[in-house]
């Protein structure tokens, strides 16, 4: 299948995104999104439910995901102050259908988060809609779907997956 984005390019892009998150360069992470970009995490018991119709854990439009990034960098974002150490692992990158300039990309992920003598693991898979322009891909939509049925023992998703 021939698409405007190769699997290798997609993998490079997702690796760069992961590196920004792990380096807490969160405002640069937000800049990876298009002006109408969105960032989503469905409820753990309804991974296939639609946003807006059902309760999600994260339902961010572009403004809110930018504010999420800014918020997490403040000392008063208590759950992440001091910051946790995170490691985003990406694998099984796969290119899906292409509609115009938009390419669907999926991958598996595991995120490790360690803070205050406790390590949490977030396994899942992600569905991206990437828009390919002259300066490389941008994220129109990122949906991170957790492969856990309840948020225990993690308790929260205070980081960006």
């Amino acid at each position: 299948m021939s698409t405007i984005l190769s699997r290798g390019d997609a993998e490079d892009f997702l690796t760069k995104e992961a590196a920004l998150l792990d380096a807490w360069r969160l405002e640069e992470w937000a800049e990876l999104f298009t002006a109408d970009g969105e960032y989503l995490i469905p409820a753990t018991d309804a991974p296939e439910a639609e946003p807006g119709k059902s309760l999600y854990l994260v339902y961010d439009d572009r403004h809110r995901l930018g504010e999420r990034a800014k918020r997490l960098l403040k000392k008063t974002a208590h759950a992440e102050s001091p910051h946790s150490r995170t490691r985003h692992m990406i694998s099984n990158v796969s290119i899906g259908e292409q509609v115009g300039e938009t390419v669907s990309v999926t991958c598996n992920f595991v995120v490790f988060r360690s803070r205050m003598e406790k390590t949490d693991i977030y396994p899942g898979h992600a569905e991206y809609k990437l828009v390919v322009g002259p300066n490389g891909p941008k994220i129109r939509s990122k949906k991170a779907i957790l492969d856990i049925d309840v948020l225990r023992p993690q308790g929260k998703v205070s980081i960006i997956l």
């Binding site: 995490i41 469905p42 409820a43 753990t44 018991d45 309804a46 439910a49 946003p51 807006g52 119709k53 059902s54 309760l55 999600y56 854990l57 994260v58 339902y59 439009d61 403004h63 809110r64 504010e67 999420r68 918020r71 403040k74 008063t76 974002a77 208590h78 759950a79 992440e80 049925d149 309840v150 948020l151 225990r152 023992p153 993690q154 308790g155 929260k156 998703v157 205070s158």
Partner: protein, 437 residues
Amino acid sequence: MTVQERRPSSSQLIVDDRQAASFRVKRDVFVDGEILALERERIFSTCWLYLGHVSEVPTSGSFVTRRVGGRPLLFTRDRHGKLNALYNTCPHRGAMVCRERAGNRRAFTCGYHAWTFDESGRFVGMPGPEALPPNASEGGRFNLVSVERMDEFKGFVFVCFDKNAESLVEYLAGAADYLAYVADQGADGMEIVEGSQDYSINANWKLLQENSVDGYHGQPTHVTYFDYLRSRDGAQSDLRIGGSGGWVKNLGNGHAVSESIGLLPWGRPYARWAPGWGEEAKPEIEQLNKEIMERLGPERGNVVANGDRNMIIFPNLVVNDIMATTIRTFYPVRPDYMEVSAWAVAPIGESPTSRDRRMRNFVEFLGPAGFASPDDVEMLELCQRGYANRAAAPWNDISRGMRSNAPRKTDELQMRTFWRRWNQLVSADPSVELNGP
């Protein structure tokens, strides 16, 4: 050890000094395993506990499995339309019979030896019945056991493991009116929205009940949430009354509410427009508001549509009717660990645009990935860590507003209301006075 020997005296755990306007709670109550054992016996085995909402079992055969007060239960609607709360435990060897979270079926078969029950819990068959006497199942011996008490109030279903408990409505006391305000939001009733928030907190369960009605922590703990509102909504959020206005009330039996009408900076999906929703949302919100005013009259309509309420129902139910409406319940697995479940409740038949605003609004603040709840979790966990110093620093102080005739959201009457009831039950001391400043 007998129960009598274990019984703490009511003044040992809580000092309620009304003369000095001082209310203190001993930090041992958050840490001590003996206290948790007493709570299980005297609170979670005797109080009415939230099971679920009627909308979760909409049709005949619908079921939900859920742990309530530490017990795995099966909540069903049977072929006659009747609600059932059953212990999800096989009468044969005790295995949990139903393993799914929810669904619809007419029969439940235990995976272990294939004993089968209908949706009201009645035994209907087993492999090889000839090995037992023909009358072996008589008297309901092989039925799933029904929970001692179950009752519904305006769609909210509760159970109680004490067959001699007072009625649900008596138990709810003044909290019933506030559940009715939620039930009245929808012209055709309310429903639980798909998608639960099941999470955990490494802290004692009572800290979440306190936190859920604590207006005093709003600004310091959630300053980043108010920053977000300001970035989105500009001047409207400079209303930033954020908890200092309004009032708090003792609703009886340990229940309390923190309330205001029309004061807070965030939007409410059917009542209070926020700039972040855009001008295009305004006409629909005005229309929804009008529908409530016409249906309920201006006085009650104003309370239902324009009020913001954080309510705690003793012991472990929170109904927060704020930027969205959430039902939250939790249970202590250990003194320093609780499991939490939360849901969104919304009007049946809500338009897709209004439901979308509600879902966005819910998670801007609430839930394990919202802009606020993770910071609450952090604070509760820091409290729990801090209690390791309780030998040297043994008391929590909950005295704000004890001399006030009109306690506000930033006072602490709502927590004292919880604690007085808690003390009465855990100390088994009926002389503990539930009313007070």
